[in-house]
């Protein structure tokens, strides 16, 4: 049995094909999200590497902000449920999930069966999310995929205190013009992201193990800043960007099992 999980986020589109609820047959990530060519392209890509088509999928679950725009989905589920499912599958010891995506940051608490006990998300403001890092990367002229590497070159961390992305951008420009080392500002930006994500985690209560996912988890600088903020080590989920899509594929498999009972 094949199930497909599609996670259409604000900044990227992800898809996972799962065989019999366990084996990842294929996965794909396209770095544009809902309302773009991303959803179509990610499906093309995920099927391009395997000898399967949408017709071979026994059940499809869509998640993410664009979940209602996925035509072939049998069901739509929230990204909270899907991330929890995906992470627990990959890291069964996970009790706290910190997920930072394109415009969302969320903290989820799980019990020992993987059920969601609590969750909180950022709401009105996207500071401290992937978009925030995008803006800062441009201002600092450090490519996004180099931010993590530059972070570890910092001797001191600058302070980026504004909660508003636009004001934080001005703050960073001002620090650059004062001659602060670029790497210090990069670390300060990561610390700012960490502080916002951890404030969500504190609201639900931090329980071990803490697992991080979402596109931002690929940035080792942010992971380092979160570990320093929480004063403990955290686990980065394998392939952190596709955990939502994986969770959706797992939920699709569970749905099939329910129907076949």
């Amino acid at each position: 049995m094949y199930t497909l999980g599609i996670d259409i986020g604000s900044a990227s589109s992800k898809a996972v094909i799962l065989k019999d609820g366990t084996d990842v047959v294929a996965s794909a990530v396209v770095q544009v999200g809902t309302g773009t060519s991303g959803p179509g392209r990610v499906l093309e890509e995920v099927f391009s590497n395997v000898d399967l088509t949408q017709e071979d999928m026994d059940y499809t679950v869509a998640t993410g902000y664009g979940r209602f725009s996925v035509e072939n989905a049998d069901k739509q589920l929230s990204e909270i449920t899907c991330h929890a499912k995906g992470i627990f599958h990959l890291v069964p010891s996970a009790r706290t999930i910190i997920d930072i995506g394109g415009q969302d940051a969320k903290a989820i608490q799980l019990d020992n069966k993987g059920n969601i006990l609590k969750f909180v998300m950022n709401d009105k403001c996207a500071a401290g999310t992937g978009r925030f890092l995008d803006v800062m990367s441009r201002v600092l002229e450090v490519p996004l995929d180099q931010m993590g590497k530059v972070h570890f070159q910092a001797k001191e961390w600058a302070q980026v205190s504004s909660t508003c992305t636009v004001f934080a951008e001005s703050e960073v420009i001002s620090q650059l013009s004062k001659g602060l080392p670029r790497e210090s500002i990069v670390a300060g930006v990561h610390q700012s992201v960490a502080s916002k994500a951890c404030s969500l985690a504190y609201r639900i209560g931090v329980k071990n193990d803490v697992v991080m996912c979402g596109g931002v988890a690929q940035n080792a600088g942010v992971v380092d800043a979160i570990e320093k903020e929480l004063q403990q080590s955290i686990t980065v989920a394998p392939h952190p960007q596709i955990t939502g899509a994986l969770g959706a594929a797992l939920m699709a498999y569970e749905e099939l099992k329910k129907q076949n009972k």
């Binding site: 902000y65 589920l77 929230s78 909270i80 969601i116 609590k118 998300m121 709401d123 009105k124």
Partner: protein, 419 residues
């Protein structure tokens, strides 16, 4: 055609009496009688006993929000320099007052007032406020009184840091009532009508009885009552509890719900459509009432509990000022954390809710501050999951439907897991 309350539905009564109250306020103004603007949980008994027409700015603002008319009024307040961090009921009303004031001063109706979908109500001759539900109401009404150069009656109600309500608090509030009576005698130039006051108190008790009765229908499972209807009918428990309009309408509504239940018709039609039951904590998002309702309905979640309509469960003994004092002070948000959490727990339990939706209302810090604590208390006792979302009662700029939908969907998925 003459309105026949006997034959009308509760919904028709609601619409008719809401409009009638505004008409009566205009009629009073025309005939030289006094019009009072009142805070929603301030006691109307004193003014009504003195034949003063009542208008309720919070309900007016909520109505403006529901009719998508609040943004225009908020902009007027913005232009006057009111900060957007101030309660949006206050800003909507202060914006509306400004338009009415301009009309009174110039004889010309400002364009925003002429085109407004908000109910058209007259300017007040006095205002009455009470700090039993928030302290913004003090500065807001003081401001109205100052802007319009009219008297302001303040019923000062101490916060109940311990429960039950202390005797000295009740005595203090009863003295506040006596001072208000004296103030009204000075304003009207007439002796206070104690006989009518007693009758008005009795009327309030009948209105409250039927209001509470209606709310009990949501405790039935499946629920014949869609809890969002309480948000609509709330207009009359606020504006007409001292009149028989509220009693007539709620009695009728209770009868309709009874009949609906007997016929096997429920909030979402067939009983199987009620997949979940949720408690809603906080003021409604009036500007997105439909979106917030549909967000829940799409997940099969009926709102069966809310502590908010219970603000008007003002049960007391007519003729006993201290009993009336207690009723107006033990409003749950005017009480200490432990009492507030316990009251919230009772709402969730009695409504048989299996999930909680918390409105983190930008306008109302008092209701939002302890939301999570209350939900944690209930969660620890009952294992009921909760979710919070950002919104506002009448400022449409604060709410995002997609964010709300995701949170509500995640909540119902958690509720599914629990089942």
């Amino acid at each position: 055609m003459e309105f026949n309350a006997m034959e009308a539905s509760a919904k028709e009564c609601l619409a008719y009496y809401q409009a009638k109250l505004d008409e009566e306020a205009w009629e009073a103004k025309k005939n030289g009688k006094l019009v009072c603007w009142s805070a929603s949980v301030a006691p109307p008994e004193f003014c009504v006993a003195m034949d003063i027409a009542m208008v309720y700015p919070e309900t007016h603002a909520a109505g403006a929000g529901a009719r998508k008319a609040s943004m225009d009024l908020l902009e007027v307040a913005d232009e006057k320099g009111y900060n957007i961090d101030i309660c949006s009921y206050a800003r909507t009303n202060l914006g509306y007052m400004e338009l009415l004031k301009q009309e009174a001063l110039t004889g010309q109706k400002p364009e925003k007032l002429a085109n407004s979908k908000a109910a058209y109500v007259p300017l007040p001759d006095l205002v009455i406020t009470c700090n039993n539900i928030c302290n913004t109401l003090l500065k807001w009404y003081e401001n109205l009184a100052k802007e319009l150069n009219i008297p302001c009656i303040i019923i000062d109600v101490p916060f109940n840091h311990t429960m039950p309500v202390s005797r000295h608090n009740k005595e203090y509030i009863a003295d506040q009532y006596r001072a208000a009576i004296k103030q009204l005698e000075d304003i009207t130039g007439r002796a206070f009508d104690y006989d009518k006051f007693f009758k008005v108190q009795e009327q309030v008790q009948r209105s409250v009885y039927w209001w509470n009765k209606v709310a009990t229908y949501a405790q039935r499972k499946p629920s014949p009552l869609n809890g969002f209807d309480l948000f609509n009918y709330m207009a009359l428990i606020v504006c007409a509890r001292a009149r028989d309009y509220a009693e007539i309408t709620f009695h009728k509504f209770a009868d309709e719900l009874e009949a609906k239940d007997a016929a096997g018709q429920y909030a979402f039609g067939a009983p199987e459509n009620e997949k979940h039951r949720v408690t809603w904590e906080g003021i409604a998002v009036w500007t997105y009432l439909g979106a917030t309702f549909k967000g829940l309905k799409n997940q099969g979640a009926v709102m069966t509990g809310s502590a908010y309509p219970g603000l008007w469960s003002l049960v007391y003994t007519p003729g006993d000022l201290e009993s009336m004092a207690e009723a107006y002070t033990n409003v749950y948000i005017n009480t200490c954390g432990p009492n507030r959490y316990e009251e919230f727990y009772k709402v969730v339990k009695n409504s048989k809710s299996d999930g909680i939706v918390l409105h983190l209302n930008r306008s109302c810090k008092l209701m939002g501050l302890l939301n999570n604590e209350g939900a944690e208390y209930v969660n620890a006792k009952m294992g009921v999951p909760y979710v919070s979302f950002d919104g506002d009662q009448t400022d449409p700029r604060v709410f995002t439907p997609a964010q709300y939908e995701t949170r509500v969907q995640a909540l119902t998925e958690m509720m599914d897991e629990n089942q």
